[in-house]
């Protein structure tokens, strides 16, 4: 429990064996002010970034942004509809590939493997992947898929995003399954249910909210990833081909290319795209938190 001790009163009132010395009081003051300022600074930076996005991005938000495709160099107007749809497709592809793998691997760690050496190793490897530089995952998928398949493709982009999403889902799934009390599983096993049934019907059900949260957080994580897409899905100015072969337009890479371009309308579109993607990701993160919170309260 939190005990908030009022140190001002502590400093003012004489302790039984004497007064709090001035230097001690000063050090305490400095610490408190510094910590509060640092926290305000963190909140201030977030506010600053969001306000800047609104300020720069909202002017560029027009219906054309959502209906027209990205303009070529030097042409006027245009939108980022193809990039928005492409991003949705790539993110969906990534999460559809990652969810079963992540959930099952997390289930292995929490239910089957538990204390085994293999599970310990995989848990460690998963933690490394969770924080591994995403650009290296782009390089890996480039060698794995782009080179053999002879060109950039949406499939490669989806796989790269999936590789980033899997560790997030593994981690949250395992953490949530570990919170499920063992007595629930024992009750299921006592009814004669096989292990798979106990896991699917009891453990998964009990941990459902947490697992969904993990998937949402993974979606939020990959939706804004740029580096791994640079070498896999790349980008183009058109709608993606239905086979997902060739470059697939997506928001992050479009923002990257347009923000640094010398054309006025490109920069405006980059800001509009940045606003759209950041707001979507923050909304996803907040929703994930709310789901978990609601579940905890219940």
């Amino acid at each position: 429990m939190d005990t908030v001790v009022d140190n001002q009163a502590l400093a003012a009132a004489p302790a039984p064996w004497g007064r709090v010395r001035r230097s001690r009081y000063l050090a305490d003051r400095v610490l408190k002010i510094a910590c509060t300022l640092f926290t305000l600074l963190g909140a201030f930076v977030l506010g600053w970034i969001l306000l800047m996005l609104l300020y720069e991005g909202i002017g560029g938000l027009s219906p054309a942004v959502f209906t027209e495709t990205t303009p070529g160099p030097g042409t006027q107007g245009g939108g980022i509809a193809n990039a928005i749809v492409g991003s949705l497709v790539l993110t969906t592809l990534g999460i559809v590939v990652a969810t079963p793998i992540g959930v099952l691997a997390g289930t292995y760690l929490a239910e089957y493997g538990k204390g085994s050496v293999l599970a310990t190793v995989i848990r460690f490897v998963n933690d490394i992947l969770l924080a591994a530089p995403s650009i290296l995952i782009g390089l890996f998928v480039y060698i794995l898929m782009v080179q053999p398949m002879g060109g950039y493709s949406g499939w490669a982009g989806g796989v790269a995003l999936a590789i980033i999403a899997v560790p997030v889902i593994v981690r949250s799934t395992e953490d949530m399954l570990r919170l499920v009390p063992g007595s629930l599983r024992e009750a299921g096993a006592a009814l004669g249910a096989p292990m798979s049934k106990v896991i699917v019907m009891i453990s998964w059900k009990a941990a459902r909210a947490g697992m969904v949260t993990g998937v949402i957080l993974a979606t939020a994580r990959i939706a804004g990833e740029t580096a791994p897409l640079l070498f896999t899905a790349l980008n183009n100015n058109f709608w993606f081909s239905p086979t997902l072969m060739g470059g697939v337009s997506n928001l992050p890479v479009t923002i990257y290319q347009f923000a640094l371009a010398p054309y006025e309308n490109w920069r405006e579109l980059a800001w509009a795209g940045a606003l759209i993607i950041t707001m979507s990701i923050l909304a996803l993160s907040v929703v994930a938190r709310l789901i978990l919170r609601k579940d905890r309260i219940r």
Partner: protein
């Protein structure tokens, strides 16, 4: 109970077990695959330049001469700057959240700090380049440069030849902002785990908050805070998009913190799509070095913070 039995065949039970086992092995395979492709792809460059690949600072695409030294020092320097700025702030935030913050304010404040981690890195890059860099150039670089010009050592470190706002220090500052939420939230969790009886007894004998933090909390959580810092370092080393926007992408060694430079990740991001042959191999070799360094850092981090929740 009957229905439980009837609908689950032993085949499903076994299949489920093997599917989860297989999925867990995929995680292993991915890491092995990353190591494998980096070594395989970078091999020609390592073979061509040998140890000189690491120590040489020549990066000449046309002349097929590649040395990683500038990118390596750029990566390490920017990450170091990020730690110097970010660590005190992160620990301060964690102390605020666990010791000073009124209970009703805890959740909103931690949510705000954690949302900083959710903002995509490309947004930090845009913010850094278009908003932060001009302000930094006008209000920090130009005054400082006129102030320190001609001074020994400081005059070199803080002298901006072209005060454009982009450069090593800007990259370090942006990285600091990006790693603060990670270090702060892990440190907060670690501080929360310290039994409250320790704190309360320290307060009980008349300690001030500063003394409780200094003599009780930090020694207790010390090792895991170092782990959290290493985790932040791992992220700072590999961060790509934000750094690519603000570091200036120049291949030159400079003692000035205001001069443009490049990191391993920013160089790969900038050059990979136009690379082929030995150039591409050199970039993959860079990736290999980055992977080895971050792997060591992250592994140490994991050993130090046995197991805490990351957002």
């Amino acid at each position: 109970m009957q229905s439980v039995r009837r609908r689950t065949s032993p085949v499903f039970d076994q299949g489920f077990r093997w599917a989860s086992y297989g999925s867990a092995l995929i995680v292993l395979a991915v890491l092995a695959g990353i190591i494998g492709t980096m070594i395989y792809g970078g091999w020609p460059a390592f073979q061509e330049f040998g140890f000189g690949f690491i120590t040489s600072s020549i990066w000449n695409v046309g002349g097929e001469q590649f040395g990683a030294w500038v990118a390596i020092t750029g990566t390490l320097t920017s990450a170091l700057i990020a730690l110097v700025i970010g660590v005190p702030i992160s620990i301060g935030i964690a102390i605020f959240l666990t010791q000073l913050c009124p209970p009703w304010l805890r959740r909103p404040v931690s949510t705000v700090i954690e949302l900083l981690a959710a903002v995509p890195s490309i947004i930090y890059g845009m913010w850094g380049l278009f908003v932060f860099a001009p302000l930094f150039a006008n209000y920090v670089q130009i005054p400082l440069t006129t102030l320190v010009e001609g001074m020994p050592i400081i005059g070199t470190i803080l002298y901006a030849r072209v005060p454009s706002g982009v450069g090593m220090l800007t990259a370090g500052i942006i990285l600091a902002i990006m790693i603060i939420p990670f270090i702060a939230s892990i440190t907060r969790d670690m501080l929360d785990q310290i039994p409250s009886i320790l704190r309360e007894s320290a307060y009980g004998i008349g300690c001030t908050t500063w003394e409780v933090v200094r003599h009780v909390l930090l020694p207790q959580a010390g090792v895991s805070i170092i782990g959290a810092v290493m985790l932040g370092l791992g992220r700072a080393l590999g961060e790509t998009m934000a750094v690519t926007f603000v570091i200036g992408n120049a291949n030159r060694l400079s003692l000035s913190l205001f001069d443009p430079s490049s990191t391993i990740a920013s160089r790969i991001a900038n050059e990979f799509n136009e690379a082929s042959g030995l150039h591409m191999s050199a970039l993959l070799a860079l990736g290999c070095i980055l992977f080895v360094v971050t792997f060591i850092v992250l592994a140490l981090a994991r050993l130090l913070i046995a197991r805490v929740k990351t957002p």
